[in-house]
């Protein structure tokens, strides 16, 4: 029994390690095509994100300083670590903290270039972390109060999806998901759209292979975030998993829609709105959990 659970854990981690970049790349390609269709354009080929990364890898090797690529590499490594832990049924709280550490490496990499553009991007990234972190921690608390465990394997194995008990926290989480996915109106630190005001924010000074690693990290990261959404929606059966995947993709579609329909907000609006939502949704939802639990 012990070996079989260990096996399941290892398989979960390996599946993330190998499949996440493939799915993340396809997701990015689909995202760009849907975005183009929403703007009445044809859009790039589906595999365009893959072509971009291959091109970046073939570029001349250059870096503003010797440590930048090491920091970016650590960013990738810690995202992979967080994802493997998450998909092997590990501790959700630990996943959150590892991911914050990964983001810190990205911020330090941007600061290490000493370029004003990269520093503005890095400062904005810090603001983004400050905006979403309270909500994420409240979500972790909510999971614990409902299921009595922080382990993702335990959270999804109930008879009802957790979202039944945490509807407000789920809505709040979808709100900050826009920040986490760096989508407009919250794409302050780095935008995926062409030619922005502070041109590429946190990645301004990164080029060639370093930028390629950032892109691959985003593929991993996006799959991990969608996994978080699915954690709310899945329950302990095969149907539960399938329903969760379908609903998660619909939520991603909603994010693309939001991305294309809202102009970027100032950081003040991002910070205050996400804190208020976290406070109100979190407080009401956490306080009413005992009553909601009685309903089911």
């Amino acid at each position: 029994m012990v070996t079989s659970t260990l096996l399941v854990k290892i398989v979960g981690a390996l599946v993330f390690l190998i499949l996440a970049p493939v799915l993340g790349c396809l997701l990015a390609g689909v995202d760009r095509r849907i975005t183009a269709r929403m703007q009445h354009r044809v859009g790039p080929p589906l595999l365009q994100p893959y072509y971009d990364v291959r091109k970046l890898l073939a570029k001349e090797d250059a870096s503003t300083n010797p440590v930048e690529r090491i920091y970016i590499f650590m960013y990738l490594i810690f995202i992979i670590a967080a994802g493997c832990l998450f998909f092997s049924g590990g501790n959700f709280l630990l996943v959150v903290f590892i991911l914050t550490l990964a983001t810190l490496f990205l911020i330090v990499a941007a600061f290490s270039s000493r370029s004003p553009y990269a520093e503005i991007g890095a400062s904005r990234e810090i603001l983004q972390v400050m905006s979403y972190e309270p909500m994420v921690l409240l979500v972790a608390v909510g999971f614990y109060m409902v299921t009595g465990t922080f382990d993702t394997a335990g959270i999804v194995s109930g008879t009802n999806p957790v979202v039944c008990y945490l509807p407000l926290l789920f809505l709040g989480f979808v709100y900050i998901l826009t920040i986490k996915l760096r989508k407009s109106p919250f794409d302050l630190s780095m935008s995926h759209h062409a030619h922005q005001e502070i041109v590429k924010g946190i990645t301004t000074e990164m080029s060639g292979k370093t930028l390629a690693i950032v892109e691959v990290s985003h593929w991993y990261e996006n799959i991990l975030f969608l996994g978080w959404v699915a954690l709310f929606l899945a329950w302990g059966s095969w149907i539960g998993v399938v329903v969760a995947i379908v609903l998660t993709l619909l939520i991603y579609l909603l994010e693309i829609f939001i991305d294309n329909n809202f102009a970027r907000v100032k950081w003040q609006a991002m910070l205050t709105s996400s804190w208020w939502i976290a406070l109100v949704a979190g407080a009401i939802n956490l306080a009413t959990i005992p009553f909601i639990m009685n309903l089911f």
């Binding site: 183009a36 354009r41 790039p44 971009d52 291959r54 091109k55 073939a58 301004t204």
Partner: protein, 153 residues
């Protein structure tokens, strides 16, 4: 064809254009021409870009800026002069402050004539530039092999 020519990212610089050519460059990004079909993205960042589009003639004030942008771009890179101003200096050629075409400041790979240059001509020039980009990448790879071989000896 390698991946280099499947994802040419562009930086556009207005040297001293009358804005006629600039508007045509931006027109390429609109739904009508939609250059993102070819993976082309307007990055606005020399460190991310592969293709340097210059509109307008070079003058004493901006020649250093053009060289700076060019130097910040990583190999392989191509330069495309968009419009007659960028290719020769056009009617501003004789002005006291104008140097002339962009090729007086940096090496130009493709010239796209027209006043203003048409979006079709720009797209055509970028496609021509891709062949140059491909060749430069092959040279870069060959040199890379040479360098590692010599260090191994």
């Amino acid at each position: 064809m390698s991946y280099t020519s499947k994802s040419p990212w562009i930086i556009h610089y207005d040297a001293s254009s009358c804005n006629g050519c600039d508007i045509e460059v931006l027109a390429c990004l609109t739904p009508l021409y939609d250059v993102e079909r070819f993976g082309i993205i307007n990055t606005g960042n020399p460190k991310h870009a592969d293709v340097f589009l210059v509109t307008g003639s070079v003058n004493e004030q901006n020649v250093s800026v053009i060289r700076q942008i060019y130097d910040q771009m990583l190999e392989p890179k191509v330069v495309i002069a968009c419009g007659v101003c960028a290719t020769t200096g056009n009617i501003f050629r004789e002005c006291y402050n104008t140097l002339g075409g962009v090729d007086l400041a940096i090496p130009v790979d493709v010239y796209a004539p027209g006043c203003a240059v048409r979006p079709e001509a720009i797209i055509d020039a970028v496609v021509k530039g891709l062949a140059v980009l491909e060749k430069k990448r092959a040279d870069l790879d060959a040199n890379r092999g040479k360098i590692t071989a010599s260090t191994e000896e």
